[in-house]
């Protein structure tokens, strides 16, 4: 293989100590942004307040070209010296936590905890602080850096914000970095085939029970789950059905009239999710017929598998940066923002910033000490791309 470019990783490696120093100096700024962002509730479709915070931060740094698009994404461009490339750095701003949850964050010397601090308030804080950090390092980017807080990513949001941006952006995006708070070492450059959806079971009110035996919605849903467990899944390509959450019923002794099961089918191939979706529709019809209950299955998000290869220069450069920072790569395919980059043919990686405990819980906990290396890794990869690491062989 002959590289068409003159990319020299040693130049990136030589900058890493300076980047880490700039991050040390900016630690309180990053943590302050983390706290402020974390305490702004932002369930999917209600991200406006967080986007406003990003706008305020970007504007304070003198970045006057901030724009908010039709879906609510907030983005700004840091113009490079030549503008020869456009690199999109994005972090999803939405969270899985409802507005009614207490979003108070606690800061201790080694940890920060509170709802969503890692996923993805830390990623958004990194985005908000990036202009300040870049000012502190002695490096002039040739590429334009597009910083974007992406809305409508999770659940039913189905990456709508990012998709809108990539479908409508008025310049060619040459590379992408998805910034995730969690977890340090995460390296995703491939997307899994995926179907995301839910089963809804509804039975009539208690007064009209007798024609339907004694089945409540929970027991009907149990039948659905039993049938799901019988679906054969191949080990190659690796495939799985994740049952993410289940709701139903109100008390101990009242038959439930409604139940909901949220699931995701994932596979390294596109064929498996497609076939499983057919099975799921069949299961809904059969259980409805057997129980007399209404059983509906709704698929509201899907992804195609794909991505760049392990030997792609972007992956190689990213691994080199991680190695130089003593970060052990955890390579895994993803169903998140990387998928939309892949769909648009843009080489991209997803990177995580720090370690965590209690992911997804109200006391989600992140560790402060690894943040410097995790953040340095992102800036290192940016510089590598800027230096020509993405130029294809």
């Amino acid at each position: 293989m002959n590289a068409k470019n003159n990319f020299n990783f040693d130049r990136v490696k030589a900058m890493l100590p300076e980047i880490q120093k700039a991050l040390e100096e900016s630690r309180e700024n990053l943590l302050a942004s983390l706290v402020i962002i974390s305490e702004i509730p932002a369930p999917t479709f209600q991200e406006a307040a967080r986007i406003q915070y990003l706008k305020d931060r970007f504007t304070e740094y003198g970045l006057t070209n901030y724009t908010c698009d039709e879906t609510g994404n907030g983005s700004v461009v840091i113009d490079g010296a030549t503008g020869e490339r456009n690199i999109l750095i994005l972090a999803h701003v939405d969270t899985v936590h409802k507005s009614s949850v207490d979003h108070t964050v606690t800061v201790l010397p080694d940890i920060v905890f509170g709802p969503g601090v890692g996923d993805n308030s830390l990623g958004v804080a990194m985005l908000a602080t990036l202009p300040l950090i870049l000012e502190k390092i002695n490096y002039q980017f040739h590429s334009n850096l597009i910083l974007m807080g992406a809305v409508r990513s999770l659940g039913r949001g189905n990456l709508e914000g990012q998709r809108f941006f990539l479908n409508n952006v008025n310049r060619k995006i040459d590379a992408g970095i998805c910034v995730e708070g969690l977890k340090l070492g995460r390296l995703s450059y491939k997307s899994l085939g995926m179907r995301r959806g839910q089963f809804n079971v509804t039975v009539p009110q208690e007064a009209a029970w007798h024609p339907f035996g004694t089945f409540g919605a929970v027991r009907v849903m149990n039948q659905v789950i039993n049938r799901l467990n019988q679906i054969p899944l191949p080990t190659d390509p690796r495939s799985t059905i994740i049952l993410g959450s289940i709701d139903g019923g109100e008390s101990y002794n009242t038959l439930a009239t409604k139940a909901t099961l949220r699931f995701e089918v994932r596979s390294e191939s596109d064929r498996v999710p497609e076939e499983v979706e057919k099975e799921l529709r069949l299961i809904a019809e059969e259980v409805a017929s057997e129980s007399g209950a209404e059983v509906k299955m709704d698929i509201f998000a899907q992804r195609l598998s794909g991505g760049i290869h392990f030997s792609h220069p972007l992956v190689h450069a990213t691994r080199s940066v991680m190695d130089a920072l003593d970060i052990e790569p955890i390579i895994r395919p993803s169903t998140s923002e990387i998928s939309e980059f892949i769909n648009h043919g843009i080489p991209a990686v997803t990177l995580g910033i720090t370690e965590c405990d209690n992911l997804g819980q109200p006391d989600e906990t992140i560790y402060i000490e690894p943040i410097i290396r995790g953040a340095a890794q992102i800036i290192g990869v940016l510089i590598a791309i800027d230096q020509g690491a993405i130029d294809e062989y």
Partner: protein, 338 residues
């Protein structure tokens, strides 16, 4: 100035002070230094966040605050370590002015801050605020920067969670509405214009702080208002709405202790103000009750509202800041050495 004029002129909302660059320029033109003091006692869970936010936003990014200090009453937890790890200056109250001895109470920390810190303005912010934000500081500093006649700025919190339109009540907490406002209405009607006289957040000019005594316990806020009012009148005050403040709520018994301490402070001042002849000696024991095995039992709380003298009466203070004793301090008021 009547109450309505004062409210119109001196009641603000923090959003009036959003332009920190402008405020910093005005501060620099006036040659002012600003110290932020956070008094603490076992606040390790909340202090880290306050320091991170204030240092990042008001020291590093916008240098409005020149000195960020935590003054601690002797926490048993890691309060001071947490605060120091995020860049605050940390002090034990007992190690400041050791010649003056050691007393326990938040007022003691506030009083010793006047000696330890160097600002021309000192901002006091409690450490137990869950929804901490830079507005808790710049909202209080704003009136002092832009209104030279203002000497003492008090916080209030007035954002309703839900409200349609028309008239809605506005006021303070339970102790304010049941105790302070009735007392002020009886003796100092103009002070009722302060919507939340007991709020723990305020910013004050040094020349005021050094000239007033400091109760070390529950009565410090009440005494400040009375003493500043007596010397400089209502025009010296301003108040800023900081929206919501989320913090620990106290039970009725704790509020009873607070009320008891405040009343001691209040009644101590009445003879000096000429409102009444000599008062009988007051008890210092608050009596509350509980039921145990169907028997009513008294619980006795000894609450002594000790007071520190005006800082200007201390020779060490005058030496440190190059000040002389003002003539109004006669022999009877001069230096108390504890």
């Amino acid at each position: 100035m009547n109450i309505n004029e004062w409210i119109a002129r001196n009641t603000h909302h923090h959003s009036e002070y959003w332009d920190l660059r402008k405020m910093i320029a005005a501060k620099q033109r006036q040659g002012l230094k600003i110290s932020l003091c956070i008094p603490t006692l076992n606040e390790e869970k909340t202090i880290g966040k306050e320091i991170v936010i204030f240092k990042s936003e008001l020291v590093d990014r916008y240098p409005l605050v020149d000195e960020l200090a935590v003054i601690d009453s002797g926490s048993q937890d890691a309060t001071l370590d947490v605060a120091a790890s995020f860049g605050a200056d940390t002090y034990l109250a007992s190690e400041i002015l050791p010649e003056a001895g050691e007393k326990r109470g938040k007022g003691e920390n506030l009083w010793k801050a006047i000696y330890q810190l160097n600002g021309d303005i000192i901002v006091y912010v409690d450490a137990d605020i869950k929804n901490i934000h830079p507005r808790f500081v710049y909202g209080l500093i704003g009136p002092l920067i832009y209104q030279p006649e203002v000497r003492y700025v008090k916080a209030f919190y007035d954002r309703p969670l839900a409200f349609s339109s028309g008239i809605r009540p506005s006021g303070g907490g339970r102790v304010t509405e049941i105790l302070i406002r009735p007392l002020f209405s009886l003796f100092f009607p103009e002070l009722t214009a302060l919507i939340q006289p007991l709020s723990g957040e305020y910013a004050v000019r040094r020349e005021v702080l050094e000239s007033i005594p400091f109760p070390i316990g529950y009565g410090v806020e009440t005494s400040h208002l009375i003493d500043v009012y007596q010397q400089w009148g209502l025009a010296a005050f301003a108040q800023t709405d900081l929206d919501q403040r989320v913090h620990r709520n106290q039970g009725a018994r704790s509020l009873g202790k607070m009320g008891f301490g405040i009343l001691q402070t209040f009644f101590k001042r009445l003879p000096h103000l000429g409102f009444t002849a000599a008062m009988p000696e007051m008890q210092t024991v608050l009596r509350q009750f509980q039921v145990s095995d169907n028997q009513y039992e008294q619980i006795l709380h000894d609450i002594v509202e000790d007071e520190r003298p005006p800082m200007i009466t201390l020779e060490q203070y005058r030496t440190k800041f190059g000040k002389s004793l003002p003539p109004e301090y006669n022999d009877a008021q001069t230096e108390k050495k504890s």
